[in-house]
Symmetry: C2
Subunit: 306 residues, 2 copies
DNA sequence: TGTAATTACGGGATACGTAAAGATG
DNA sequence: CATCTTTACGTATCCCGTAATTACA
């Protein structure tokens, strides 16, 4: 028999003053209350209350045990509500990691509002491009862009992310605007270089087929931020994520080209160790990100494509 | 599902570091541990530990909840052991009531030893001849002599009690020793008088029949102690309980007569509100009384009859 | 590849509800 | 005599153990 139910019943019986009333309170048959009390007293080996049909009288043991029970029930309720996701208020400490570039631009700015909305919460934001072991390093949530998340972890799509070929209007005036990916061979393409040479190049969708453009120009770099800067200086075309260039497109500093051949969008994901039973703070945080990413259309409107 | 078992399991899993080890500890199948953890996490709506086949990692919620659980388990165990009859040491407060005369002579003297044997115990002894409502006045135990105890209460026989006709040797020398109850008509019988006149007289067993002698002499009183004193002064015969006159018989101050016609012994009882589930202190107290009443043969040896 | 967690499944203990009986003031 | 507790009894639940499966290092 459930020991907690037993002491709950005991406390309820004392509070209501009769088995019948306690039964009504707990929504069970009166007989059940009597049996629970029998079981509790039998287990303890001591009588807790003298029972007549008219009056229930606590024994000295019952008196002492009642006080303990009341305290324990209160502590149990407190412990569970502290931890339970049912609480409306998020508490504790949220640990988030994100890629450095994206995090600086699109995670860090969203944190002050979230912190203000949840005053019982503290946050650690880790910005790093290395792959983080969420579980072992104690992170609640990672933001990942583009590539497929780790196995055994769970990802939720926060927003679409599109890769675009961009350049300054000035560059396009000088070099011309390419109308087809094959024309890129005649342009200054600012390629991302990698020691691991895992970069597959710029992806395009041509007649239902995915093609990759790998032909670089006179400049390449292993750092996307640098490519971005070079592109802004009119040094050539770059293949960048919308989240990186949205502001520049909005301001007219950059223009996107070859939108008709853009590859299917990949995503921006929230990655967590578990799909279910997430702490409230994590669910609220992911909601926060999703809401703002959906609302801040500044990075989505890249020609109306998406 | 038993909430108490759930948190016990949770604590055990953390302590042993794996479900399998916790299962062995609790003597159940490993699958059971997993299901209990599932149920606990589902009920709380939050994950308490990240589980792989090799390592269990507490989540922040799990960490916090674990500490609460450990404290609650300790308090639960404490509360139950405090109250449970399983504890070897009697504690708390024992409330006893007894008839005034009997209590002064045969209850109060036994209390100092009992108190010394149970140092965690305190005792209240109420001596009164009125009938006490054990439950409502908060008594653990009453000692009753002779008559049948109240209904709905439970009595345990502590010792036999015999009523005897006694007198001083001097009186018998003067008035003669009666050989049959009918000869009492010629003696100075010190009768107990009562306003309620519920006294049935002196009971004798004659040829298998119970007879009552009601013929008084020149003296009667409503107080047994007074009759006793008069008897000791040689004023006549008295019909007294062995517990009252045992010391006098032992010392030769009184002699019993008509032992062959003595009525069947009635008893000395311990009366409690309940038969089962008695507090440890009550069981020990009753044992104490029974043991000493059986051992202190001074009041039993009243001619070898009993 | 071996160990541990999980899932599937069948059986059995047990707690429940209903209704009648007993107790109490 | 009304009300509350207790008992009797049939039923449904759910919890467990076994064994096969999956996941992880």
């Amino acid at each position: 028999m459930d020991r907690f139910t037993q002491i709950e019943t005991f406390v309820a019986v004392h509070a209501k003053g009769s088995f019948t009333a306690a039964a009504a309170l707990e929504g069970v048959a009166p007989a059940v209350i009597g049996r629970r009390m029998d079981a509790l007293e039998a287990r303890l080996g001591v009588r807790l209350m003298h029972r007549t049909t008219r009056k229930l009288t606590l024994t000295p043991e019952g008196q002492a045990f009642l006080e303990d029970c009341q305290r324990i029930l209160a502590e149990m309720a407190g412990a569970e509500s502290q931890v339970s996701a049912g609480g409306a208020q998020a508490r504790g400490h949220l640990r988030v990691t994100a890629p450095a570039g994206f995090g600086r631009r699109h995670v860090a700015p969203l944190i002050p509002l979230f912190l203000a909305e949840h005053t019982q919460l503290s946050i650690s934001l880790n910005l790093a491009d290395r792959v983080i072991d969420l579980v072992n390093e104690g992170y609640d949530c990672a933001v990942r862009v583009g590539d497929l998340p780790d196995s055994s972890l769970v990802s939720q799509r926060l927003a679409d992310n599109r890769r675009l070929v961009v350049a300054t209007p000035d560059y396009l005036r000088r070099a011309g605007t390419p109308q087809h990916p094959r024309e890129l061979l005649q342009h200054a393409c600012l390629m991302l270089s990698s020691e691991a040479s895992q970069t597959r190049g710029w992806a395009f969708r041509i007649d239902g087929q995915t093609h990759f453009h790998r032909q670089g120009g006179r400049l390449d770099c292993s750092d996307g931020q640098v490519l971005h800067d070079w592109c802004l200086r009119g040094l050539g075309l770059a293949w960048r994520s919308t989240w990186e260039v949205a502001a520049d497109l909005q301001a007219g500093r950059l223009v996107s080209v070859l939108d008709a051949f853009a590859a299917p969008p990949n995503g921006i994901f929230a990655v967590t160790p578990e799909r279910h039973l997430q702490p409230l703070r994590v669910r609220l945080w992911i909601d926060h990100l999703r809401t703002h990413y959906a609302r801040t259309e500044y990075w989505m409107r890249t020609g109306g494509a998406l």
